[in-house]
């Protein structure tokens, strides 16, 4: 079991990058949902997007963005998992 925790030296930086990018996204999203970024950038009525005021469409945008970010993050981590010898079983991302 223990060898599953060890990423090869090649994979480690990539995994770290995925973690970092995802953490960056979470912090940006948080700022975008509350003061200050929401107050400065998102909080206006116009333009309307699909009929929604911009202040509401902004939050819907973050919901969609969080979905995309989660999918990309999971894919990045899983690709690393699939690359490791002996762990390709059941992986949906064979390389």
């Amino acid at each position: 079991m223990a060898e599953r925790r060890d990423a090869s030296p090649l994979e480690r930086p990539r995994q770290r990058l995925a973690h970092l990018l995802f953490a960056g996204f979470c912090l940006t999203a948080l700022a975008g949902l509350i003061w200050p970024a929401y107050a400065w950038l998102g909080n206006r009525v116009k333009p309307y997007i699909l009929g929604l005021p911009f202040s509401m469409a902004w939050i819907v945008g973050w919901i969609l963005a969080s979905f995309v970010a989660l999918v990309l993050y999971e894919r990045a981590l899983r690709r690393d998992l699939a690359l490791r010898p002996g762990l390709a079983r059941g992986s949906s991302h064979p390389k």
């Binding site: 223990a2 925790r5 949902l33 909080n43 009929g51 202040s55 939050i59 989660l70 059941g90």
Partner: protein, 495 residues
């Protein structure tokens, strides 16, 4: 057939479908507490998606949220916001919990924390916090069900009768099928909620205002600030950014801590299934958008509703809509109420027996006997909450705020238990108690807050500080066991 008969028939069909979905899987799990509480750790992605999604959205979503939008405008966006990152901590905590759960046989959150710190008394404290929070939360679901049944029957059924019918059905499927009953009914209820919310949320604005765009243009023309965050307070004065932002933050942190939700980490088949339910969760979150549209559709509607909680029922009755639409709406609302109420009753009873009795006092029970006790507890909890609802049911939103406070304070303990080796039982306990006392105290006396931030944020800050300081000043009861626990938590299953 008159209108009430049609609406009640729709509800009867819906309740019958719930019974069918809930009773069908009763044979699919083992005759044990692990089977009844955690479905033998074998739940697949479909069930996990709907259990987490439908459990989170409750009667408050269907009745309370449109009321916020109607009376407080953009301040209701905070409810939409906190879900965006609210489930993300579960991506990291959930799989860790699942690993130790499988290894040690945990089925509840408190049991896991008590074991990590070798401190059974923590299970008792957490079980008490959980039950104190769950009772008002279940009452809230029951009140919603009562309102909807009264609406559907045109007043022929009073609250006590309406709730008894709806939660009678819940009692039958939870008692018979345990977590699989909760899960399979949640699939049905989740689909129903999503379809109804989107259907009505798009239909009513176009019926009343000729579309979503014209509706918001009308609102903005009459009151431009109404659609700008942070919106209004309950009394109609402008809300401030500090409080709005801290509400989002505290709700985000509290999200993962709900014990009935967190314990589903022990039900999932594998880690990939768990992560999937987090990744797909935003699709469920989007369904709050049409719910908010329903509230905004009622802005400016004459005659105005008397109370913000009556907005949707009032609108549906005044518009003279076809009885089948009223019936479907009520059934959708009942789905929201039941999908949360069933998980709360099931989770609350499991926690009361497993944590409050077995773990806290080191009682040994046979798996079969434990399941029997949990069943009795489910029945007791439902009947107790039914009586409480009839006698003391207060306003819906006030109750939710009261229930959320202490639960949020479990957050730092959870993180420390699964990730921080140096954390000790004394630290966890002291932090938890400090956090709860401060957050409740500042909720009761908000004028004591130095800045206008959510009371829970002061509680969380104190909680983390005390947890860290006391942990560093004390020694672990069993460092070797801690190491082993954390090593298991860190070991991926490769899925």
């Amino acid at each position: 057939m008159n209108n009430q008969t049609v609406a009640l028939l729709v509800i009867a069909v819906y309740l019958a479908a719930c019974l069918w979905a809930g009773l069908r899987p009763s044979k699919d799990q083992s005759d044990s507490a692990t089977g009844f509480i955690a479905g033998d750790r074998a739940l697949g992605p479909l069930l996990m998606y709907f259990i987490t999604g439908a459990t989170i959205f409750s009667a408050f979503t269907f009745l309370g949220m449109p009321g916020w939008a109607w009376s407080r405008g953009a301040s209701s966006f905070y409810i939409l916001s906190y879900g965006v990152l609210g489930f993300v901590p579960f991506l990291f905590l959930g799989p860790r919990a699942a690993r130790v759960g499988k290894h040690y046989g945990f089925v509840t959150q408190a049991e896991m924390i008590a074991r990590r710190f070798s401190a059974p008394y923590l299970a008792l404290i957490l079980a008490l916090i959980t039950l104190i929070a769950f009772v008002p939360y279940i009452v809230l679901q029951m009140r919603g069900a009562g309102v909807l049944m009264r609406l559907a029957s045109g007043g022929a059924l009073n609250d006590a009768q309406g709730i008894a019918i709806v939660y009678g059905v819940v009692a039958v499927y939870v008692l018979k099928s345990g977590v699989l009953g909760v899960g399979w009914t949640n699939v049905l209820q989740g689909v129903f909620m999503l379809v109804l919310a989107w259907g009505l949320g798009l239909y009513l604005p176009s019926l009343l205002h000729g579309g979503i765009g014209p509706m918001f243009e009308k609102i903005a023309a009459a009151d431009p600030d109404f659609l700008l965050a942070p919106g209004r307070t309950k009394s109609g004065t402008p809300w401030n950014w500090a409080e709005y932002s801290s509400f989002v933050l505290v709700s985000m942190i509290g999200f993962t801590c709900w014990p009935h939700l967190f314990m589903k980490a022990f039900s999932a088949r594998d880690e990939r299934t768990l992560r999937k339910s987090v990744i797909l969760y935003p699709s469920f979150l989007l369904f709050q958008v049409p719910i908010l549209l329903l509230g905004f559709a009622a802005v400016g509607f004459q005659p105005a509703p008397r109370d913000e909680q009556d907005v949707l029922p009032h609108l549906l009755l005044s518009l003279d809509l076809p009885a089948i639409v009223v019936g479907l709406f009520c059934a959708g609302g009942l789905a929201a109420s039941m999908s949360t109420g069933d998980a709360l009753a099931h989770g609350g009873a499991s926690i009361a027996i497993r944590d409050g009795w077995v773990t806290a006092f080191g009682k040994k029970l046979s798996p079969h006997r434990e399941r029997t006790l949990v069943r009795w507890m489910v029945a007791l909890l439902l009947v107790g909450c039914w009586l409480a609802t009839i006698r003391y049911g207060t306003r819906i939103v006030d109750l939710l705020v009261f229930a959320y406070g202490p639960i949020t304070q479990i957050g730092p303990v959870l993180v420390a238990a699964l990730l921080w080796r140096r954390a000790t039982a004394k630290g966890a306990c002291a932090g938890l108690i400090c956090g709860i006392v401060i957050s409740l105290w500042l909720t009761i006396a908000p004028e004591l807050r130095p800045w206008p931030l959510h009371a829970g944020l002061y509680g969380l800050t104190a909680n983390v500080l005390v947890l860290v300081l006391v942990s560093l000043a004390t020694q672990s009861r069993n460092p070797k066991a801690d190491e082993e626990f954390l090593a298991i938590a860190a070991r991926s299953d490769g899925t």
